[in-house]
Symmetry: C2
Subunit: 240 residues, 2 copies
């Protein structure tokens, strides 16, 4: 059932198992998780251990416990992130989560590498600005991203983002009112050490990496980004 002394706390193993059951629809009949005492018996642990697991799931926004009634399942599915020509991070997740946040981790000006120059249509070595972002929904890390912009065209992008907290609004403040997704490439791989920490993933977790280029309405690239999603928290839907 659950294993001891493998370096993963019992409550964590149980939380992962319950999360899986929720997403498998095992509790769809009632919309409630089984009572704590039942889960405790099922997993062969103390009720307090189950409570720790449920508390962590409540923290993720998956369940809500109500005294006297039971533990309701409040979100079953993964966050669905639609990818289309008009992909916007905050719009896309929209009403799927209460609390959306994009935090600026780091930024710097740097010469464009070959890869970046190709993507943005710049000369290799041209100045570009890098933004490292961490996006969270309901206080839980959903994705971390690295974006590149032409430093010539968007010199204030970092400052704008720091105050506005959104790429779309930062573009608007830079005089770019609209933009579209020009291309997206998607791969899946294991999270590296940095991503494990940023997204608070379990060891061995998967990230889905989307390499995207956004362009203005004239088709000129304005943003090249590599976004790494926590694969167990999101579902990407490609809209054509």
């Amino acid at each position: 059932m659950v294993e001891r002394q493998i370096g993963v706390a019992l409550w964590r193993q149980i939380a992962d198992r319950i999360r899986l059951s929720i997403s498998n629809g095992d509790y769809d009949a009632t919309g409630m998780a089984p009572p704590e005492t039942v889960l405790a018996a099922q997993f062969g642990v103390n009720r307090h251990t189950v409570r720790s697991a449920l508390a962590s799931l409540a923290d993720e926004g998956l369940v809500t416990a109500v005294q006297g009634r039971g533990t309701m399942i409040t979100r079953k599915e993964r966050l669905n992130f639609p990818i289309s020509r008009r992909t916007r991070f905050s719009q896309g997740l929209g009403n799927q989560a209460r609390d959306l946040e994009a935090r600026l981790l780091d930024h710097a000006q740097m010469p464009a590498t070959r890869e970046i120059a190709d993507a943005l249509g710049l000369a290799p070595g041209a100045p570009c600005i890098r933004l490292d972002l961490l996006s969270s929904a309901d206080g839980r890390g959903v994705s971390c991203s690295t974006s590149y912009f032409s430093a010539e065209r968007f010199p204030q992008i970092a400052a704008h983002f720091a105050t506005l907290g959104s790429i779309t609004r930062s573009f608007a403040a830079s005089g770019l009112d609209d933009y579209v997704r020009a291309s997206t490439e998607i791969v899946a791989r294991h999270a590296d050490a940095n991503e494990l920490v940023l997204l608070k993933l379990s060891p061995g977790a998967i990230v889905i990496e989307a390499q995207a280029i956004n362009a203005d309405l004239q088709g000129r690239p304005v943003q090249y980004s590599r976004t790494r999603f926590a694969a167990d928290r999101v579902k990407l839907t490609i809209e054509t």
Copy 2:
């Protein structure tokens, strides 16, 4: 660096980080892991905690500690499992591990579902035999598989496997001397609860699932199997 109170023991987080460094080739210059005291300082933990991490890696056969010298890296790469027309589990892993084992977890006779009947070229509902196997290398779970065989053609397959410990030899004992891989489909997904336990994976780990059909030299399907590999321990090489 490493995080506390997330339900994953420090030594486990550190072991995972070091394993990643090894497979990334970070220590290729010397072929040795950094000294325990250096690692301890690097991760901000006590030397004993690092020792627990290294002990677990030694248990996996990745490193070997030698008193006075240091900790040598004894296996860098993932187990490479070649997939070709003549795929054989034990042959494929061959000299990459000292100790190969395939254990029969369960077996049963059952009517073929639509999926199984299609794969094996049987009528739906025809009797078939299911074998659940767990394969290990150096005492560490590498894959678990579910295989289906025609009960009419291979009535003794389970008994043969139980004594012979190999599908190839079980086929031989049933009068089938040679067979080839007819088709293979590969997907990656999160391990389910059962796989987590069988393969002793971390919560959230990936499995690579290979759905394969083996056929005799006349092209008649003889085995339909779904093998789930621990994605962080193997690499599949498709040989065409």
